[in-house]
Amino acid sequence: MTLTSPQFKDNARAALADAQLQRALSKGLGFVERRRLAAERLPEFEALRDGARDIKNHTLAHLDLYLEAYEARVIAAGGQLHFAVTAEEARAIVVDICRKVCAKTVTKGKTMIAEEIGLNDFLEQNGIQPVETDLGEYLIQIRHEMPSHIIAPAIHLNKDQVEADFRRVHSHLPKDRNLAEPQTLLTEARGVLRERFLSADVGITGANFLVAETGTSIIVTNEGNGDLTQTLPKIHIVLATIEKLVPTLEDVSTLLRVLARSATGQDMSVYTTLSTGPRRPDDPDGPSEYHVVILDNGRSSMLGGGFAEMLRCIRCGACMNYCPVFNAIGGHAYGSVYPGPMGAVLTPALVGIDKAGHLPNASMFCGRCEEVCPVRIPLPRMMRAWREREFERHLSPATVRSGLKFWSFFAKRPALYGLVTALASRLLWLFGRSAGRFRRLPFAGGWTRHRDFPAPQGATFQAQWRRRRN
């Protein structure tokens, strides 16, 4: 993956000026309304969120032991478990497995971990062709883009863009075919990918959960692509990170009850598939080898620290669906695999606050993300914590630092603060009362370049407060 988080401000500006992107975003995210309805239909939804949070906290506090238990069950079921500390190690393990069977093509179910470790490029460099099979992932693969949303990777595209891409890539099909509607586009993708499913040597999927009780990996999809990916080839490789562990099947039930409702507003996704080991001796189908690659990539050091709660995340995408910043600029502007509020907290932990410092600043702390998070991750609080770290490490820009210094000088002297703000507000009222707003203001160009500054209506907040209390 190419990290462009350091250029977040430029990315955001470009995104706001991108007509195609703004057209796609202007439709609004349908997930928001559907999530609300799904939550209303289930009276126990809020209590289930508490339960989901508690399950994740319990698992993380005992992660070493659940991981041990999981490992033993995978091996007992005939599966092979591989551990990878870094992205490089994970990529090498996957390529090794592919090489052993002389794999030429690999089908892939949707996996954010593969995006995180940049697997596709690495497979191609090693002469192995990766084929994304989730429709959204397929669309961004043929465009050489990153996902712009963790569950709807191609949400930034319009159908005419998809049509143009299909005409470019599926050049073996008749030129005069009709591709005007989403239905015809989907049918074409189904046909093209069906051949890929049947001819792939290896299938790679992610995992929504790993179950310690039984050594099972679970994927949740709507298309069925993940199932064809892991059923048809000789080899099934699961890519997962350590925080996907869940103790028991009962715990999975609770998480499933909040996952789809939070993500798409469905009561349950279409396909929830539990895989344990390779095909059994008398099974008529299924892969003959089952590998699980367990990746850490910095997560174990998040445990027990200020950002440990981020490891509860079950990747539903609700936080970004509800985020006003994400809705304005889309996911690519964040410049990393994980966009939106969850990305603003996770990306700095994975790549460093020095590179991802803009992300936790891209929030106005409206708090909607935390309100809808199925495992109640305090995202705004953690974004604030990243801002503090950034400040402590002197990474914030000079203008921010001097601005804060300027403000703190007055904030520590209440009488002076009151005097100066009263004077400033009086002045602004005087100059601005006819128009009611300022189109330009000295030292506030950053604000007025994009919007007007409202003229004060009278006394300062503190003065009004004093008057009301008396």
């Binding site: 796609a24 439709k27 126990e44 209590a47 289930l48 339960g51 005992h62 992660l63 070493d64 991981l67 238990a69 551990f83 500390v85 190690e89 429709l135 669309l139 949400i155 989403p182 586009l185 989907l186 189904r190 499913f197 049947l198 009780e213 050594g215 099972t216 709507n222 298309e223 069925g224 692509n225 199932d227 064809l228 059923t231 048809l232 350590i242 103790p247 028991t248 099947l249 009962e250 715990d251 039930s253 469905q266 009561d267 349950m268 279409v270 396909y271 598939t273 539990l274 895989s275 095909r279 059994r280 099974d283 008529p284 189908d285 299924g286 367990i294 850490d296 050091s301 445990l303 027990g304």
Partner: protein, 226 residues
Amino acid sequence: MSARDLIFGSIRRSLGVSGKEAPRRKTVGDRLAQHPAGLVPARGQLAAKERLALFRTMVEAASGSIDEIADVADVPSAIAAFLRAHNLPMAVRRGGDPRLAALPWERERTLEVSVGRSDGKDVVAVSHAFGAVAESGTLMLVSGPDNPTTLNFLPDTHVVVLDAKDVAGDYETLWQRLREKFGDRLMPRTVNLITGPSRSADIEQTLILGAHGPRRLHVMVVGKSE
């Protein structure tokens, strides 16, 4: 040091534990052995008749279709009628499941029935469910010598036969049935939870059925729920 040791070491360092603490080991051991259930929604705890009614509602809400058939011997003719009604070819592929094998297929002379896994050319598949969950209209199918997983995904139309008495209220009941059938902490290779036909909304958020899996899912509930 191996990657495995590094990861375990790092987890334990962050948590401030050695991994040998007896109380922690007991907590984990107990939870894995007793697998306590969390909160089960009230709608997952209905009596048999209401449960079946809810299952029906939820299957239809997920864009599946559902038929109730009193006598198991009528299943082949119900399948034939379904195929005719939807203008589908009179041919189905099924697994070797004894419950399917015992059906009087010979009564439907025009219906061609073949047995085994799918190679992607079959239009209609017939499977037998292990059970179902009323709270979300979900079917559970398990893989095994007689139940190929490919039948659940490759054909365009998937017909699933389900015993009415196997419709549970919640997922928890089915996990317990899996333990009873396959043993504690043991699972078949694949357990498929299926809720409606395949779909995608990846193009302009327009929901379309039939992405990579079946475009149509039809459930046949056989017999009485009690």
